[in-house]
């Protein structure tokens, strides 16, 4: 018998990729992000060592997602932004908890 080419999928071994990271955001008057602080965590993601500040240079795009209202509402306002230094990231505000998160673009 030929063994399957891929290892069997076990969900307990899955690790999230591009998980949102909690950030603090300073807003402009129009509600768009102006500055971002993200905690510089250690490997376990638990202990915040220092906050890193980045200035938002440009908001490239914005959109909103309202989904899964039938179980636990997901309501987010996304901003694709260009940070000072050239990094391109995605910020979103959880409109349920009003927390801000950052993801890679």
């Amino acid at each position: 018998m030929v063994a399957p080419a891929r290892a069997p999928l076990r969900t307990d071994r899955l690790r999230t990729l591009n998980a949102p990271r909690l950030v603090a955001v300073e807003l402009h008057a129009d509600g768009s992000p102006a500055k971002v602080w993200r905690s510089n965590c250690n490997g376990d993601g638990q202990e915040a060592k220092a906050a890193v500040e980045a200035v938002v240079e440009t908001v490239l795009e914005m959109w909103r997602i309202d989904d899964e209202w039938w179980r636990q509402l997901i309501s987010r306002r996304y901003f694709a932004v260009l940070l000072e230094g050239g990094a391109r990231v995605v910020l979103f505000e959880d409109l349920v908890t009003h927390e801000w998160f950052m993801q890679t673009a």
């Binding site: 999928l9 076990r10 899955l14 690790r15 999230t16 990729l17 591009n18 997602i65 989904d67």
Partner: protein, 423 residues
């Protein structure tokens, strides 16, 4: 199915190619001799003891060697002849045991499980093995017997020329402990590092914790430790000798045109290569014979070195320098033979026979249909090997696959996930 034997006898004829030359050129034994490398470097490959006493060493250029030893006799290598001689040796060893595994040129392992019952004692077995070696090689052959190939090899490498060392069952660890680390199959870098760590013999290596050696040297270290500690006994794996594969074509009318014969030959090679028995094997020796039209030019039969049959047939035996499964490479020497000494009459029937095989390489070249596929297979293999090595060293998963989970999701974190990479 391959046959295995945990007890092994190692038959080692050091400097086998040089011994082959000495066997066919009388008087060479008394001269300082050096054999050139079979590649294009024109450097010395093997050097006789007389030449070595004069300061000549393998790897030297011819001019360096002649400068040191003006009477040095330089010999061009003849790899086909060495292969033939080695094949003869393996074939003779098969008379002693059905389980014979070839190593490098001049090195072979014989499975000895159950042979005590046939030969009565180890001494008689040793003698039987020695008798299979050609008389010219007997003074230089070294024999080693023990559990597993490594113990047998170490015993052979420690034996004096023409003698044997037998490592009794249960004595392996004691025997191995006293041997220098140079007997291990290690590269120069690992050897240097072991010496820097003050490890001079197998006993010192085996005294270290296995995990520490593995952490330092990875999979190689683990294997070295197991060999040094006598914890592993690699069995002798006998060669499976496939039956010859025959493909034949009968012509409606006798054929004398070279082009048509060559075309038919290509068809026969393609047909024989497709034979299921050939899968996993490269062709090493082949024979092409032709039944010739009778009644024409009988007085000319058997002309030429390759055309040897006075009974109106034509025969060409080919031993390929490199075993191959490539149709073009197989065809090349046969085409040359057809060109230089063609059949002396119209061919009624052309028969191609693959008579000897070598195991296919692990590079999947027999199955890869093109160079890209072979390259991909090579990359995958290298990746798997590197992943295993990393996992062995750090003992936890650090390599992951990216897999699609919900690629259609509007939420980026749900689209992909990581999973342990287990090659």
């Amino acid at each position: 199915m391959a046959q295995h034997s945990s007890s092994a006898a190692c038959v080692w004829i050091p400097l086998f190619p040089l011994r082959c030359e000495e066997a066919r050129h009388e008087g060479l034994v008394a001269l300082p001799v050096a054999l050139l490398a079979p590649d294009t470097t024109r450097k010395l490959w093997q050097v006789s003891s007389l030449a070595r006493h004069a300061g000549v060493k393998p790897g030297m250029t011819v001019s360096q060697a002649i400068g040191l030893c003006p009477t040095l006799r330089i010999i061009e290598p003849d790899p086909v002849h060495y292969d033939e001689r080695f094949s003869q040796l393996l074939s003779s060893l098969n008379d002693v045991s059905p389980v014979v595994e070839p190593g490098d040129l001049g090195l072979a392992y014989v499975g000895t499980d159950g042979l005590d019952g046939i030969y009565g004692s180890q001494k008689r077995l040793v003698e039987a093995i020695r008798q299979t070696v050609s008389p010219s090689d007997r003074p230089s052959v070294r024999l080693g017997l023990g559990l597993g190939k490594f113990t047998a090899w170490v015993a052979a490498s420690r034996a004096k020329p023409g003698e044997a060392i037998v490592v009794s069952p249960g004595e392996e660890q004691k025997f191995l402990a006293a041997q220098p680390i140079a007997v291990l199959p290690l590269d120069a870098g690992v050897h240097r590092r072991l010496r820097q760590l003050g490890i001079r013999n197998l006993g010192a290596l085996a005294a270290l914790p296995e995990t520490a050696v593995t952490a330092q040297f990875g999979a190689v270290g683990k294997r070295l430790w197991q060999l040094a500690a006598g914890r592993t006994a690699e069995p002798v794996i006998g060669r499976i000798a496939p039956e010859p594969i025959v493909a034949a074509i009968t012509f409606f009318t006798p054929v004398g045109e070279r082009e048509l014969l060559v075309h038919s030959l290509d068809q026969l090679i393609a047909r024989a290569l497709k034979h299921p028995r050939r899968i996993g094997w490269r062709v090493h020796a082949l024979r092409l014979h032709a039944d010739l039209e009778t009644g024409v030019g009988d007085e000319d039969g058997g002309r030429g070195a390759a055309c040897c049959a006075p009974t109106r047939s034509w025969l060409a035996n080919i031993l390929l320098k490199e075993p191959t499964a490539d149709a073009t490479r197989i065809a090349a020497p046969l085409r040359t033979r057809l060109e230089q000494s063609p059949p002396t009459g119209g061919v009624e029937r052309l028969i191609l026979e693959f008579t000897a095989f070598a195991p296919g390489t692990t590079e999947l070249q027999l199955f890869a249909r093109d160079a890209q596929a072979a390259a991909r297979a090579g990359q995958q293999r290298a990746l798997r090997s590197a992943a295993r090595e990393i996992r062995m060293r750090v003992k936890r998963a650090v390599l992951y696959h990216i897999i699609e989970v919900q690629p259609w999701s509007r939420l980026p974190e749900r689209r992909y996930a990581l999973i342990d990479y287990e090659p």
